[in-house]
């Protein structure tokens, strides 16, 4: 059975800190890994990763994939209170639908 595990489950940091969120997976026929930010109800797309070692970057957020070790990290630098959210990792494998992890709840305090 395909599995996606995120860690930590929750994290509290101060504004300006840098955080690293982890996502490990066990799937057959890996296709892609996606990161989403969920603030209230709707997950907002952040990144899609398909190749190892190529960093995707958007402002203070960046992500990288390691297909050999089967994990991805999401980095957020100089965190702001607006970064407070649940960050979801999801993986596509073969012809199966997206499998989501349980998410990491990030709280950034002023």
């Amino acid at each position: 059975e395909d599995k996606v595990v995120q860690s930590p489950l929750s994290l509290v940091v101060h504004e300006g800190d840098t955080v690293t969120l982890n996502c490990s997976y066990e799937v057959t026929n890996f296709r892609s890994l996606l990161w989403y930010k969920q603030e209230k109800k709707a997950p907002t797309f952040l990144f899609m990763l398909t190749s190892s070692g190529i960093e995707k970057k958007s402002g203070r957020l960046s992500s990288i994939l390691d297909k050999k070790e089967l994990f991805s990290i999401l980095n957020i630098t100089a965190t702001q209170t607006g970064d407070s959210a649940v960050y979801l990792c999801a993986v596509h494998s073969g012809n199966t639908p997206l499998v989501f992890g349980k998410g990491t709840r990030l709280s950034v305090i002023a």
Binding site: A42, P43, F45, A90, P97, K102, G103
Partner: protein
Amino acid sequence: SAVISQKPSRDICQRGTSLTIQCQVDSQVTMMFWYRQQPGQSLTLIATANQGSEATYESGFVIDKFPISRPNLTFSTLTVSNMSPEDSSIYLCSVSREGSTDTQYFGPGTRLTVL
């Protein structure tokens, strides 16, 4: 990305009733999906809404409980039938486009509370 709207945004319903949730996209999309997110849990796929044919349901979800329609490439509905308190969840539709089918974009969600 696509602009996706869902109606209603939230509802409180009585046990035994049914609710239909609508998902509208501003442009034609290849795939439309319906997810459920129970309190404190991650997203679980209910079904893939197929245009012009029956939806494809995931294990644990059945058409009688969650009938789905997709009459065209921009619109779909999900009905939650004969509701019980266990159906209290956020229901989300998502879409993907041809050429980028792995990337899914989500609608704003419907928060359902069943009393």
